[in-house]
Amino acid sequence: MSVSLAGLDLANPIINGSGTFDAIAAHASFGDALCEVFPFAAYVSKTITLQPRAGNPPPRLFETAAGLINSIGLPNKGLRGYLEHDLPQLERICATARPAGARTAGVPLITNVMGATAMELEQLVAACDQQDAIAAVELNVSCPNVSTGLDIGADPEQLREVVAAVRPATRKPLIVKLTPNTADVPACAIAAQDGGADAVSLINTLRAAALAPARAARSGERWLGGGTGGLSGPAIRTVALAQVAAVAERVAIPVIGIGGVQRASHARDLLDAGASVVAVGTESFRDPATGSRIAAELMCVAETQM
């Protein structure tokens, strides 16, 4: 069931959603057993920004009916900290990671970056381009533009300009992670393609808010430290299916389908809707082995159909 994604060879079609699996922390918690059956066929880092970010004040999580709102706030060590501290560790982990269906070890490392301007993004992408350990770059465009306040990825024209400006900074595959919080997602996908993206991924979390429950001290006030957050998990699965299908219909580049995937049938649905690869996010919180379980199940079905 190996697949090719914009030039990357993957042993199976299951990868992780950015920010939902910290391979360094997981390796510290589970040891080398993590790499013996690695949950994913490629590893996507959490979002890296130019400057370090501490993240939002707690509480950062709110559980909904079959979903999770997070307002984590993209904590990360910044570009320098990532390159100096995290990248060597991720390189080692990815080199020894053997995903389901692979005979040999090694998964590609995709680095996810976010910037408030095209210039910031270009700097981040150019720095990733210099690193042999990084196989591809994913742009998180769910970042407010500093002058307009609108998410860069929410406006097709702005998105096309940003992607076109960043494109020359790398020859590595460039993935654009679209925002679902906009009126016309397929138009944004086309804009990313026109700007030079090699693939698009969707959906990111849906903007959501929660008030403190009656039992809590701040009852009735905003619960999340960041004010609003993003909804993920089974609650968004059907939204993801609709958006992935609509985008896959309109673009020629590969689509990474994300949103509420808990088992093989959900991954199958996104693949049937036109995705080439599926990413697992929140479900990994419930079981870190979700990715490899789904991949193994997909491969099992593929074998019996041959």
Partner: protein
């Protein structure tokens, strides 16, 4: 530190018994994975019922819940539960033969006292859970000071041996706060000049932990605090369990804790009561 295998495991409930206002849930311990050792005091597991996890109050729970491993003995893991919401309510209903998912043991355990060193155990409410396995593990006797709301909750003290109890309503034991018992204990420890300073091991609600932290800081007593935070994953994946550290950065309670040295924190605060932390 004991390393868990990188997947959740299905465990069977062997017993679920009332202990005053709490329940003690016992499960058959999982077969040890290669290289896995027994859970250490302070470590926890992420738990969910295999059946009917969801559809309770607010159509929750969805994510697993964190619970201290309260005891590990005779092929069983014990958990001490307090029903405070849809997740704990569902787990409190389980009976012998019920199946649950468990990921763990996870997190940084208590650092045991140096040989010959003295320990003082301080617990509040359901936070007494990790002190039971700590007491089982300690080489010698150590004073155990436990605080509860009322008499029904104070029955939980039976989880440990020879505990001194304080209750908020004065119905059992000392009428007042457990930190008052701790202050007395540290006073008498100080009075016994020449004896080595004890290490305080504490777990309980934020207000209690803060009182313990402040008292230990004041008296120069080393302290290890087992923290709580809302968690989605328990293994460092979600960054949801952040608590501000003394240097203004955040620690992740699940992987940098749950046990932290008191000197790592400026203050223990009720979740949601933190102000802005500088980037």
């Amino acid at each position: 530190m004991s390393l868990a295998p990188p997947h959740r495991r299905e465990l069977r409930v062997t017993a679920n018994e009332a202990l005053g206002a709490y329940r003690v849930l016992r499960v058959a311990a999982p077969d040890r994975a290669p290289g896995e050792s027994a859970p250490e005091p302070g470590q926890f597991a992420m738990i969910a019922a295999v059946e009917r996890w969801g559809g309770g109050g607010d159509e929750r729970p969805y994510l697993p819940r964190a619970f201290s491993i309260a005891r590990c003995r005779e092929g069983e893991w014990h958990f001490l539960l307090e029903d405070v919401g849809p997740g704990t309510k569902r787990l409190c209903e389980l009976h012998e033969g019920s199946a649950l998912w468990a990921l763990g043991p996870l997190g940084r355990p208590f650092a045991l006292p140096a040989p010959g060193g003295r320990a003082v155990l301080v617990g509040g409410g359901v936070g007494i859970a990790p002190l039971a396995i700590l007491q089982d593990t300690l080489a010698g006797p150590a004073p155990v000071l436990l605080g509860f709301r009322d008499a029904a909750h104070a029955q939980g003290a039976a989880l440990l041996q020879d505990a001194l109890v304080a209750t908020d309503d004065g119905s059992v034991g000392h009428d007042g706060r457990v930190t008052e018992l701790l202050a007395r204990e540290l006073d008498s420890a100080e009075a016994q000049a020449g004896r080595q300073q004890p290490v305080v091991y504490a777990c309980g609600p934020p207000a209690m932990l803060e009182a313990v932290r402040a008292l230990c800081a004041q008296t120069g007593t080393p302290a290890q605090l087992a923290l709580e935070a809302g968690m989605a994953c328990g293994y460092g994946a979600c960054y949801g369990c952040a608590v501000p550290r003394v240097d203004g950065r955040y620690l992740r309670v699940c992987v940098d804790g749950p046990v932290v040295d008191a000197s790592e924190l400026a203050e223990v605060v009720e979740p949601g009561a933190y102000g802005e932390v500088p980037a």
